[in-house]
Symmetry: C2
């Protein structure tokens, strides 16, 4: 165990977990996912890096824990990747609706989306939604120009989320999930598999 | 002229215009476009309603003046409507990019978009972008289920704006306008003219 931890803080106590999450939240917001190391989080929290790994696993896991999202995006996205690119538009829409139509998960996600107008919050949105949630889908599906395609996908999903869940614009806000899915699935499918202009 | 105007405020002075705009901004934010009357704006500003009409025209004009957008959306949308529904996806995309790629106009529009997370700002976004900008396009093009289609269009345009101009996500942020237009035009065209699921 490190000797650099704060006075009176016992490793393994809820205090230690909270201190690590606090430190992680601050550093991720300030430096982004790439600019933050487990070592820096540990140092700021006054604990040994091994303890951070022990509690939270890899850096992506720590990032997701720091965001306090009530769902693991990699877990919900795994079936979308496994089902292959031909139905990816509809499958991704199903996941988006299932996650965002759940009031508790939605609340945790909206807290992140609200950061979109300040610089640190923007980093969380980019690193979170694009880096950890959508990026791996594009690569997992083996798409050509995957990053570009996933940004197009993200732009439609993000706009839908804003109008349905934030602005609550009708008729979109009260539209049954199945109808939303069948409206937007072809758009996403196009971004996944159509030839891109160049 | 009204006798109810504030002490020392002369009708026709820059003060009077500013007082009307202040009053309009407050009332539109609080009550929305529909809930606000020219009469209420005049009364709050301490001037005669006829003076409000004289300076700003109809209520929609006053709303746009209050938003201080550096462009008249009805003017830029008129050619999109005139060119007809078959090319509406591409034509609308051209307008979106021309307006948002202009730094001065973009700044004035971003000020409105930033309101999206507070209740009064949301009303301005809905009444402005959907009510005054996009609503008339759908009706002008003679679309069936026009309001629904325009909300789908808005969801893609809004998401694109957020990713390109607010989050500045690459490669979208530095993509040449023509490439952005040809990427998104088919999506908008689909929302304009494809059969909608029901």
């Amino acid at each position: 165990m490190s000797t650099s931890r704060g006075p009176g803080r016992r490793p393994g106590s809820p205090d230690t977990r909270a201190a690590i999450l606090d430190s992680a939240r601050g550093l991720f917001a300030e430096r982004g996912l790439k600019g933050t190391t487990i070592r820096a989080v540990a140092s700021e929290a006054g604990v040994d890096p091994a303890l951070v790994h022990h509690y939270f696993g890899a850096k992506d896991d720590l990032f997701l824990a720091a965001l306090e999202i009530k769902v693991d995006p990699r877990q919900v996205m795994a079936p979308v990747i496994a089902a292959g690119v031909e139905a990816a538009g509809e499958n991704l829409m199903r996941v988006v609706l299932r996650v965002w139509d759940d009031p508790e998960i939605r609340l945790s996600l909206l807290a992140i989306v609200r950061g979109v107008f300040d610089r640190e919050g923007q980093r969380m949105v980019r690193d979170g939604f694009l880096g950890i949630v959508l990026g791996p889908v594009g690569r997992g599906l083996g798409l050509d120009r995957a990053d570009e395609r996933m940004v197009f996908v993200a732009s439609q999903v993000f706009g839908l989320i804003m109008l349905r869940y934030v602005l609550e614009v009708e008729p979109l806000a009260s539209m049954p999930a199945d109808l939303v899915i069948s409206t937007y699935a072809p758009t996403l499918q196009g971004y996944f598999t159509d030839d891109l202009p160049s």
